[in-house]
């Protein structure tokens, strides 16, 4: 029995298998509409995350399965003080697979030690969100047809953004990747990522402060939100805030085949005027996220 707790739990080969299956599902979705018939997914969401929960639920329903669960800890027996092991053992008696979101870091890992059924980490605090990483990887593969020979720009809050850290780790397993890390100095990528991944694996990267200085080089632009409260002083915020907003003018500097991604939800870091540009791929990314979750459920349930 396999769980998905950390984005690196799957080898490159296992990921490729998953992505091929997701491709097949997109090509002939009808053939997969009953593969999870009589199977139940439990979504245990100890904190609300409507987007992720709906993606999992839609994935299971499209596979012919059914869904049970809760969407906040106030509406569950957690309020009565039930431990994580007791909850997963109970729910594992009803359901065939569990997707768990929890505000505490490491909670899904702890749960997986006791779960009688496969368990998916649907986000644990600021720690890991492996199905977002699968979504990002699958989107890149769909749009570019490959993972190698790409220049990838990561823009915004690179210090606290867990999706960015996981994506760098996951992409570091492929060849000829170059990263351009675009952020204010306060929000640069943590030192341990530079040391343990980028330097350790000899992956070329540059750090720049402004998006307009780097956008022309990029094949992929991964946008994240920069929050005002993350800046140390107001002066820097005012000086730099517009650098991290993607608009039509900045996009004019970019390649024609750039793909703009975003883990969503966005606030103002991508102007609405960009949405109609063919390079804006973040809503495709959402859809690919559902397909890759379908493939993941199939593989963990071993129904195909």
């Amino acid at each position: 029995m396999k769980h998905l707790i950390d984005p690196m739990d799957f080898s490159v080969e296992e990921l490729e298998d998953l992505f091929e299956l997701a491709d097949e599902i997109i090509d002939r979705e009808d053939d997969f509409s009953q593969v999870c018939k009589n199977k139940i997914l439990a979504t245990l969401f100890y904190e609300p995350s409507t987007r992720t929960r709906l993606s999992f639920e839609a994935a299971m329903i499209r596979l012919g399965g059914q869904v049970i669960g809760f969407s906040s800890s106030t509406s569950s027996s957690v309020m009565k003080g039930e431990s994580i092991p007791d909850t997963v053992r109970t729910v594992g008696s009803y359901a065939d697979i569990i997707a768990m979101r929890h505000p505490k870091e490491g909670a899904p890992k702890y749960a997986s030690k006791y779960s009688p059924v496969p368990l998916i980490n649907a986000g644990d605090g600021g720690h890991q969100h492996p199905t977002q990483t699968l979504t990002d990887l699958f989107t890149i593969r769909k749009l570019k047809g490959k993972f190698s020979n790409l220049t990838i720009g990561l823009c915004g809050d690179l210090k606290f953004g867990r999706t960015v850290h996981s994506l760098i780790k996951a992409l570091s397993r492929y060849e000829n990747i170059k990263f351009i890390l675009i952020s204010p100095k306060e929000l640069q990528i943590p030192q341990y990522i530079k040391m343990e991944i980028l330097n350790y694996k000899n992956i070329p990267f540059v750090e720049v402060e402004k998006l307009e200085d780097a956008i022309h080089e990029l094949d992929i632009l991964y946008m994240t939100r920069v929050q005002r409260e993350r800046f140390f002083n107001e002066e820097d915020y005012i000086r730099l805030k517009d650098s991290y907003i993607l608009n039509k003018d900045k996009l004019k500097l970019a390649k024609d085949d750039l793909a703009v991604l975003h883990p969503l939800p966005r606030v103002n870091e991508i102007s609405y005027e960009v949405d109609n540009d063919p390079r804006a791929c973040y809503f495709k990314q959402v859809k690919y996220g559902m397909y890759v979750r379908m493939a993941l459920i199939i593989r963990l349930l071993e129904v195909m």
Partner: protein
């Protein structure tokens, strides 16, 4: 030089980094012992210049692997009939379970009852551990 009698039967914890002897002494609760114990601090050492050492006139039955976490250079000599019958060289334990606590307030260990705090050694040279759950990085000095 200060002279301390050799022990008949017991344990000598040697090559403790100078300054750490007292914390080990306390950790092993030797300050509460009713048998002969000696804590020697700042003894001359060929290897380290100065060292601390502890002599225990008793056979204590305890898990001494934690000492490897404090300082892997520590050596433990088991004494019988005033002779060293066994030398134990410590190394950093690969896993540390239930001995130290994760300090990350966002870690699941901060909330769940009965959860065992577990750490995995990720860098032997630098003595770096990570919490098995939240992956927060720790060195022993912390």
């Amino acid at each position: 030089m200060l002279y301390i009698d050799s022990i008949q039967r017991g344990i000598v914890i040697d090559h403790i980094k100078a300054g750490y002897g007292l914390s080990i002494f306390k950790y092993l609760k030797l300050d509460e012992a009713d048998y002969t114990v000696a804590l020697i601090m700042n003894a001359p050492s060929k290897k380290y210049g100065k060292k601390d050492l502890i002599k225990i006139e008793n056979t204590i039955d305890m898990d001494l692997t934690i000492l490897g976490l404090i300082d892997p250079n520590i050596t433990i000599n088991i004494i019988d009939d005033e002779k060293i019958v066994k030398k134990i060289k410590l190394s950093l334990p690969k896993k540390v379970e239930g001995l130290i606590k994760c300090k990350n307030p966002r870690c699941v260990t901060s909330e769940e009852r009965d959860i065992e705090h577990r750490f995995v050694l990720i860098d032997e040279d630098k003595g770096i551990y990570k919490c098995e759950y939240c992956e927060q990085i720790y060195t022993w000095e912390e």
